[in-house]
Subunit: 263 residues, 2 copies
DNA sequence: TGACATCGCGTGGCTTAGCCACTTTAGCAT
DNA sequence: ATGCTAAAGTGGCTAAGCCACGCGATGTCA
């Protein structure tokens, strides 16, 4: 019996392959492959080709134009993972000097963390996790307090010095990992005395709490984090565009995407 | 199908009708209409039914399960930073009943508002603006306090009853406006006594503050708003990267995260 | 020559008809 | 009771074909 690796639906595989083409062979404004071309090139039915395209349209990558074709859309909503994930790059881009204070750095078994976290990381009790507590500062002023668990099997060689720098860099370069997405939940909270002390803020002052799970390419979780942002020093900025469907948007040139920036 | 003005593709109309059903007739966890049921009920082909469903799956509202059916996914009311959906629709999709308390409704000249607001709206001093203050509630519980200015020239016929309902609907349907995007800035703040009273919350409790500018198709500003979300009842959710389908996503309650002891 | 009407063609939108793989369920055989 | 089998239902996928739409080449007429 072949264990037969779980076979994903064709349109999802097609999805991934097409997504790679966007940005590689096709860039903003260009006409993308037509449904009939996809049929020939990938040996699928037109319905499947359309379903995959529709999915990319729904993601905001492409855009349908009735009677003309499918076009690559302005990446306004583009997965700006780099800037959202990498505090270091974000700070540097803003002309500031980032620094990191590593409070905790160790390895533990998944059974030692809250079940809810282990569940979201899709790990079994015996799996190993890195645990990191860090204070991130900009120009010496503490801005972010983060608590993070990383699935150790994906980056077994994580070093202390890497943990004191940019994790994003360690993942993408040293470990050759490709971060595909992240699930974020943002809330407003009040700082506890301990948290306030780390952030050099007053007790009971507001903060943004972000709980996020970072994902690799096949929806495999890489890390879980709870991050607190000092409300007076940090704000989130996002530019929304229509995602749903085939809004014309024929006039091409739109003002470029403004990446979120710390303040 | 019906003759009528069939300007939009069928699957998009179907999309909207199905989205209304989510939350009305179907809530979290339940099995949704099957493709074959949709075929009978709406007189469309199965391919079209599937396309509409796939779209809702891509939005995160539904979830495909191979060999079983389609299920409702969205457990709680959450503000999806990726999609521009109205509060009304969002609440209904979460299975709640939305209501609105109109505090202020009037028209004023742009010179009467703060210069930085007028600037972001790109209006001259003599232009007219609608001013609205509203408390939005879900199942009778106030969750949102919003302060909004709308450029009156784009929707001169705005009525009081429209202001008490869904502005999004009034814009897109009555005034035939096409909302193309929004610029948002998210912060954490503490509620002032006055704000806390409107939201039926305690003074000094945290809230999410969203300052946004809504844009029409050619980057023309339509409205400016400052909105406060009660932190204990509302969370922002943002999914970066592609949304795949086959995730069970069990559990996922809205219970607030409790920081681990120690530290 | 230039402005305008026409028509062909390729595109996505949509339908019909049908088979497949998967999952649950109910009933049958042991 | 237990375990197996078959049926029924689901989404996944293919095939073939018609339609409305937008564009551009072509042709017409002033």
């Amino acid at each position: 019996m072949d264990p037969e690796i779980v076979r994903d639906p064709v349109y999802q595989q097609l999805n991934q392959r097409l997504r790679l083409l966007v940005g590689r062979e096709y860039t903003f404004g260009q006409q993308f492959l037509t449904e009939r071309e996809i049929v020939q090139r990938f040996s699928v039915s037109r319905a499947t080709a359309n379903k995959a395209l529709a999915s990319l349209v729904s993601e905001g990558l492409l855009e349908f134009r009735k009677g003309i074709g499918t076009f690559v859309r302005q990446p306004a909503i583009s997965y700006d993972l780099r800037s959202l994930v990498s505090f270091t790059e974000k700070a540097r881009a803003a002309g500031k000097t980032p620094s990191t204070l590593l409070l905790t750095f160790g390895k533990l078994k998944a059974r030692e963390v809250e079940p809810r976290i282990a569940e979201r990381l899709q790990v079994t009790e015996s799996d190993l996790l890195w645990e990191l507590d860090r204070v991130r500062a900009v120009d010496g002023i503490p801005v972010i307090l983060e608590h993070r668990f990383v699935v150790a099997s994906h980056c077994p060689k994580l070093t202390r010095s890497q943990a004191e720098g940019s994790l994003y860099q360690a993942w993408t370069q040293t470990h050759q990992l490709s971060i595909a997405g992240a699930d974020e939940t943002v809330r407003a909270v009040l700082l506890t005395p301990e948290e306030a002390e780390h952030l050099n803020a007053s007790v009971g002052s507001p903060a943004l709490e972000v709980i996020a799970v970072g994902l690799l390419e096949t929806e495999i979780p890489l890390w879980w984090e709870r991050t607190l942002y000092r409300a007076d020093l940090y704000e989130f900025h996002s530019r929304l565009g229509p995602v749903q469907s085939a809004k014309p948007l024929r006039g091409q040139f739109v003002t470029p995407f403004q990446p979120p920036s710390g303040k």
